[in-house]
């Protein structure tokens, strides 16, 4: 069992030639990355506001906690009003549509794409699946 190369490498990519010296330094990178990560958190708070509500609902009862719950609920309502939750809903719906596709529908879809009509659709998928395009 000989040992393969386990290290990730960056052959052909030398950071000094692509970015300035300041970008390659630790302190500059950590500062800007921290800002970047805070922006990432902001993106999450905006687009996943429903998750924020779910998370804070798990907090123990208390004045501050209740206030946090009410703030996050009103934040979520505001975000939803602006339609910022839509991309998430649309992506989920698309995935759910794909998930619910049956073999029959795929068969019909293929026949539509091939423009041969349903009569000629049989045979695109193997016979043992027992699928015919019923439309």
């Amino acid at each position: 069992m000989s040992e393969p190369d386990h290290e990730y490498d960056f052959k052909g990519f030398d950071v000094r030639y692509v970015m300035g010296a300041s970008d390659a330094s630790s302190s500059h990178t950590t500062r800007t990355l921290l800002v970047g990560l805070c922006l990432a958190s902001l993106v999450l708070i905006v687009f996943l506001s429903h998750m924020l509500v779910q998370e804070v609902r798990g907090l123990p009862p208390g004045n501050i906690e209740d206030r946090i719950v009410s703030y996050s609920q009103s934040w979520h309502e505001r975000v939803t009003e602006f339609g910022l939750g839509q991309p998430l809903v649309m992506t989920r719906e698309t995935i759910e549509n794909w998930q619910s596709l049956s073999w029959e529908e795929v068969q019909c879809l293929i026949s539509d794409l091939a423009q041969t009509g349903p009569d000629y659709a049989d045979g695109y998928l193997p016979d043992w699946l027992g699928i015919t395009c019923s439309e």
Binding site: P4, E7, Y8, F13, D23, T32
Partner: protein, 490 residues
């Protein structure tokens, strides 16, 4: 604390900001990271922290004792005691219940009934991983591959460092300890790479593994009697993809997280399902465990230097122990033996096969060109057949590995021959997901690095925004809820 949760996101932001704020003081930073790692582990159960500290203390003591001793026999004794103590703790938590259950069954069959001292034992998360790291430290110090730590904090942090604590990769002392002695570095390239790996890991875990587990794997393995050949075949292929995406996803997140904190881990997976043989598969699958088993078990047993029979014996023992490491159950033992026997056969086949030179020189001219093309085609076909055979053999092993017990494993194998029952859970979506995930194995292996370069070039602010958008997209595409990682149970 699971990686894909809000708790971990907040925890990591705090650790990232504080640890880099402390980067001027290496000692202070290490102490902070040690405290953070124990907090991370204690978040499951505070009692686990005592176990972790106790194990680290044993290893620290063994390392110190080895550094003070030069006489060979005494050094051997120290290493034996250190390794044995590690293994006793591991064995107690992992095998106590199995041992008593089996003993109870044997006594019952012999007509003897005894009240055995059953205890409700919780398996501490990641115990196998940090035990292996401890053993690796003691043995490396014994072999003088690594010098013993002078500061306990180094060893305690090496064993408990939170990115790899619960499911690896199994980090070697010789690789990690020197990193603790240097000032950590984070440049744009490493940061981009870290962010990219975290996104790839989360996508594999939350989208692919979770959909496959919920959609098909859990159902077919829970009740293989009710499904036909197509469902069961897709079910095992889906499990092959799920366990890869789940485990390599965890490794990617761990490596990425460590990179953002300025530390480098070794790669743990290398497109395992494009392996052309079982030997090749084990060079690509859970690399940190397979190399650990090689260096601390297979080679000390004699490796492959003492003839075919002893090599075969060593391989089977190594894989048997690798199987039982996964858990105290007969299916894991059979899985290990299955791989051991196949590896042995693979080695034998390699010995019998006539050796051909790679990239033979056929000279120049038209005939030589045709010969070169024919040679390439021959290798391509052989490689493709090798990949197909290896993948399907690995899948047979996965049936043993994933089944609840041997009865359901044999029902699974029997069901694979029954193609009269129509598909019930094998939907086009899941079939496409399995095919696409397997196809990813044949893409360039450095995709995360390439994406990391794009992130690094775009600057950290943009990289952060892309990272946030990526997280939203992953969340939108994944099923509801957070599933624990498969390897947490080992």
């Amino acid at each position: 604390m699971l990686f894909p949760t809000l708790d971990f996101a907040i925890f990591f932001l705090v650790v990232f900001a504080t640890s880099w704020a402390l980067s001027g003081s290496i000692g202070g930073r290490k102490l902070f990271l040690l405290g953070a790692s124990y907090f991370f582990y204690g978040y499951w159960d505070w009692r686990f922290m005592l176990l972790l500290a106790g194990g680290s203390l044993i290893n620290y003591w063994a390392g110190m004792a080895l550094s003070l001793e030069s006489e060979m026999r005494r050094r051997k004794r120290i290493v034996a005691v250190g390794v044995a103590l590690n293994l006793v703790v591991l064995a107690f938590f992992k095998y106590y219940g199995f041992f008593l259950e089996s003993l109870g069954e044997i006594l019952f069959n012999l007509g003897i009934e005894r009240d055995l001292p059953f205890l409700e034992i919780i398996l501490p998360v990641g115990i196998s991983f940090f035990t292996f790291q401890g053993i690796s430290y003691i043995v490396d110090v014994y072999r003088r591959d690594v010098s013993p730590v002078s500061q306990p904090v180094d060893l305690f942090l090496y064993i408990s460092f939170f990115p790899q604590l619960v499911a690896g990769p199994i980090v070697r002392a010789a690789h990690f300890l020197p990193q603790l002695r240097r000032e950590p570095v984070l440049d744009a390239k490493i940061a981009g790479f870290g962010l990219s790996l975290i996104l790839f890991g989360l996508f594999k875990k939350m989208v692919i593994a979770h959909h496959l587990s919920e959609g098909i794997v859990d159902q077919v393995f829970a009740d293989p009697w009710s499904y036909g050949g197509f469902d069961l075949l897709l079910g095992v292929y889906a499990y092959a993809v799920q366990i890869y995406c789940d485990f390599s996803g965890y490794s990617d997140i761990a490596i990425g997280t460590a990179a953002l904190l300025g530390y480098r881990f070794v790669k743990n997976f290398d497109q395992p399902y494009r392996a052309t043989s079982l030997i090749d598969f084990w060079r690509r699958w859970h690399i940190s465990l397979s190399t650990w088993l090689r260096d601390y078990l297979f080679i000390p047993l004699g490796g492959s230097w003492n003839g075919w029979f002893k090599t075969a014996r060593n391989l089977i023992i190594t894989m048997f122990l690798g199987g039982i490491w996964h858990g105290a159950a007969w299916n894991f033992i059979l899985w290990g033996l299955f791989h051991g026997i196949l590896l042995m056969m693979n080695r034998a086949w390699r010995g019998l096969k006539p050796k051909t030179d790679k990239g033979q020189d056929f000279g120049a001219g038209g005939v030589a060109g045709i010969l070169a093309i024919a040679d390439w085609a021959n290798r391509f076909v052989a490689g493709t057949i090798g990949v197909a055979i290896t993948f399907n053999l690995v899948c047979i092993g996965w049936i043993l590995f994933r089944s609840q017990d041997l009865e359901s494993a044999s029902a699974y194998f029997a069901g694979l021959q029954n193609w009269d029952i129509p598909a019930m859970v094998a939907t086009p979506f899941l079939t496409a997901l399995v095919i696409l995930s397997l196809a990813m194995h044949f893409m360039p292996r450095n995709l995360p690095e390439l994406f990391g370069i794009v992130l690094a070039k775009s600057g950290m602010i943009i990289a952060g925004l892309v990272f946030g958008a990526g997280l939203v997209l992953i969340k939108a595409m994944s099923p509801e809820g957070v599933a624990p990682f498969i390897y947490f149970q080992f």
